[in-house]
């Protein structure tokens, strides 16, 4: 049953265009916005009334929950590099955006959240659906605004756009009281607005000291973070790595910034990262970190992380320098320009170094080879397990296709077994670790780039947090492929309980999961259940070829764990249950800690 809307679009008079709501739509169009993700409601009705007249210019994708709208905006932004716009009404609508805004803040994703608000004369009266969203979003946005007069609408939207995208990107939230949307303003839309300029160009001194440090290195390592993707600096990073023949690992956010098929690639490092990547981090003498913020998931305990190495930290945000780890050389600026400058500075040193045949590279290559052979074994062995499922999909998709993930075991298995070679093709919630991110982010990604296939590798736990957006896929004819790694558990927590809490499985078991195939059916979409290893490739190919969103529900081994793993608060050397470098168990680590008089 569908209810098509047929209505003539109509000319908007010059007088009407002075009404706040039309200033909003007109400014958005001028900023190049053609898609917004949102849900209407009392306080945002005027804006949506204007959207009705702008249907040809701005497409509103009517999500089913505002969290979905925010994540879709994130997916859109991460793929396109343009800010994603999400819209909600006041109060509960705006509060539902919060998870996505917080997620965007942690991962430096440019989104603009616009929500209605009660009229200015009601502000502070605890009016119906009034929530102080400026207060709520203050700690999780780069900046936020409340527009109390229509005179400020155009200027604020333009500022928000700049703030969201310039320098280190991030979310901006705009609260628009209803009367600002309905009153008129004679102020024309400004041509340009000024905000403080970020530092883009690094200092020559910092580049020269960085170059010198690199040239003096015996065991260099590059870490390529999310900043490399944001600043489109993949080529520059590749050039640096290849010139030096220096091994390079990425963070989860940086996955895809350097081709993982490249001989110098070590894959993703960190808590559940590749063993050889973490081995390289522990043993390098010069660490070149680009556009990464040394999160605790990367460093483990920071004191021992920093031992025995010099750190070159390249970042656009000066506040990241020295926040978590010491920087021996700080290069502040846009990653692309920093790397271009660094290449020149290296030439200036007049020295040539290539680590291709060094002991260091040889050792790492060796470790990598061993780790990979273990991976191969892992993929082949046993029944329908996640390493197999993810590697199968990895091999069936094109490199330009986009992979999104939820949060949990499937995400960590994806970072280990899904090979990505292009930037902006791996979209995952890093800093915030937001379950439910993957599916709506995939919708946003597909809207940003309809020419490729978008696969959402998800968990049964994650998927159920935002599954209602299936309706949007059907309605808007947006095709994504949710592949659910269904183990009937909140698997990552179950793994923790197994490892650190004597298998006391508290609140992790989904004993009555829905049938996801039937769920798809209920949304009038196809669904496939995969119960055997041999069925997976066929099922995925079918979903891939289908014209509409097709759920692939993969019933994977239930009590599997992602190894290796860094116990929380531990040092990188305490990573457990690897195959090659870190072969200890948690019991070994505890014993060794006790011997050293540590808790």
């Amino acid at each position: 049953m569908t209810y098509p809307i047929k209505q003539q679009s109509r000319r908007i008079s010059a007088e009407e265009k002075k009404i706040g709501k039309y200033i909003m739509t007109e400014t958005l169009v001028k900023l190049g916005v053609d898609t917004v993700f949102g849900i209407t409601g009392g306080a945002i009705i005027p804006f949506y009334d204007a959207i009705f007249d702008y249907r040809g210019k701005i497409r509103n994708i009517l999500m089913r929950h505002e969290q979905g709208a925010a994540h879709a905006a994130e997916g859109y932004a991460r793929v396109s590099g343009k800010p994603g716009i999400c819209i909600s009404t006041s109060g509960p609508g705006a509060c539902n955006l919060v998870t996505g805004i917080a997620d965007a803040y942690m991962d430096s994703t440019p989104i603009i959240g616009i929500s209605g608000q009660v009229s200015t004369f009601l502000l502070g009266n605890d009016a119906f659906q009034e929530t102080d969203m400026i207060g709520v979003t203050m700690p999780i946005t780069k900046h936020n605004f409340q527009i109390r007069t229509p005179d400020k609408i155009a200027e604020t939207l333009m500022k928000a756009y700049k703030i969201a995208t310039e320098g280190r990107p991030g979310p901006v939230f705009i609260d628009v009281p209803k009367d600002s949307q309905t009153k008129t303003s004679n102020k024309p839309i400004p041509k340009n607005v000024e905000i403080r300029k970020p530092i883009l160009e690094p200092s020559q001194e910092s580049l020269l000291s960085a170059a010198k440090l690199i040239m003096d290195a015996e065991r260099p390592l590059i870490i390529s973070g999310g900043g490399v993707i944001i600043s489109n600096a993949s080529n520059e990073v590749k050039m640096l790595a290849e010139t030096l023949q220096c091994p390079i690992a990425t963070t989860l956010m940086g996955k895809g910034s350097f081709p993982e098929t490249h001989p110098l690639s070590l894959g993703v490092l960190g808590m559940h990262g590749q063993e050889h990547a973490n081995y390289a981090v522990i043993n390098c003498d010069v660490l070149v970190a680009i556009g990464c913020r040394f999160s605790d998931r990367i460093t483990g305990e920071t004191k021992s992380f920093q031992e025995g190495k010099k750190i070159i930290h390249i970042d656009i945000d000066p506040a990241e320098i020295g926040k978590n780890v010491r920087a021996d050389v700080a290069v502040i600026g846009d990653a692309k320009r920093c790397l271009a400058g660094l290449a020149k500075a290296i030439i200036k040193t007049g020295r040539k170094r290539e680590f291709r045949h060094s002991e260091w590279n040889k050792k790492i290559r060796e470790k990598k080879k061993f780790v990979e052979s273990h991976h191969e074994r892992d993929i082949k062995s046993g029944g329908l397990r996640q390493p197999f499922a993810i590697r199968t999909i990895s091999e069936l998709i094109r490199q330009k296709d986009i992979v999104c993930t939820g949060v949990g075991q499937h995400q960590m298995f994806s970072q280990l077994y899904m090979e990505r070679t292009l930037p902006r093709t791996f979209i995952s919630s890093g800093g915030a670790g937001t379950m439910g991110f993957g599916f709506p982010a995939a919708i946003g990604a597909k809207v940003a780039k309809p020419s490729v296939e978008v696969i959402d590798i998800d968990g049964d736990g994650s998927f159920q947090m935002t599954a209602q957006e299936l309706a949007v896929c059907k309605e808007e004819n947006i095709k994504v492929i949710p592949v659910i790694m269904n183990n009937g558990y909140l698997g990552m927590v179950r793994q923790w309980l197994e490892t650190f809490h004597s298998k006391r499985y508290s609140a992790v078991h989904f004993s009555e999961n829905p049938s996801f195939e039937k769920m798809a059916e209920a949304f009038r979409l196809p669904g496939i259940t995969v119960t055997r290893k041999s069925e997976l490739a066929e099922a995925f190919k079918r979903a891939y070829k289908n014209d509409e969103t097709t759920i692939v529900d993969v019933l994977v081994e239930r009590e599997a764990s992602v190894w290796p793993m860094l116990p929380a608060g531990g040092t990188l050397k305490e990573i457990i249950k690897g195959n090659v470098v870190f072969r200890q168990t948690w019991e070994d680590v505890m014993k060794s800690r006790a011997q050293r008089g540590l808790k």
Partner: protein, 162 residues
């Protein structure tokens, strides 16, 4: 160590909340905070004193510097700046000769008497926080009935060399 940080901000509603919120969520303890207008319209000045090592202070300056409404952040180092605080203190002077003694102390310290009753004397003390602390110690035995301190404000000294 105590540091005094001066922040120039856009004089917009909510700026104080942004700054105070940032301090709270990053775990920096504000000891005092003062805010007021400056000579240039649209710019307000916030002076904050905070305890922390050099690294913490550097982080604070950078984090505050990131706020969109922040124009400039700098430290007011003790040897390079003039630091002042105002304190109003109401002292109990009921009893033999107490009033005379308190007034005498006030005069020595060049504090102003701003209110006087048979049983109380209210004084205005302006100076560096240490001076205020010393004076308060002095009158404490008489009984302090009430007290209001503004928190620290300050300004950079000009270098005499130029």
């Amino acid at each position: 160590m105590r540091h005094t940080i001066c922040i120039l901000v856009n004089d917009e509603p909510g700026v104080m909340t942004r700054i105070a919120g940032l301090f709270a969520r990053r775990g920096y303890n504000i000891e005092t905070i003062t805010v007021g207008k400056t000579h240039s319209p649209g710019t307000a000045k916030i002076v904050i004193t905070v305890f922390g090592d050099d690294q913490t202070i550097e982080q604070i300056e950078k984090q505050v510097g990131k706020l969109i409404d922040t124009q400039k952040v700098y430290e007011l180092k003790p040897d390079e700046s003039v630091i002042r605080e105002l304190c109003l203190v109401k002292v109990n002077v009921s009893g033999n000769k107490k009033k005379d003694e308190v007034i005498k102390y006030a005069n020595v310290y060049k504090n102003k008497i701003v209110d006087i009753t048979p049983k109380t004397v209210t004084l205005e003390i302006i100076g560096e926080p240490q001076k205020i602390d010393t004076f308060l110690e002095l009158v404490k035995p008489y009984g302090i009935l009430d007290m209001s301190r503004t928190g620290i404000t300050g300004i950079l000294r000009e270098s005499p060399k130029q």
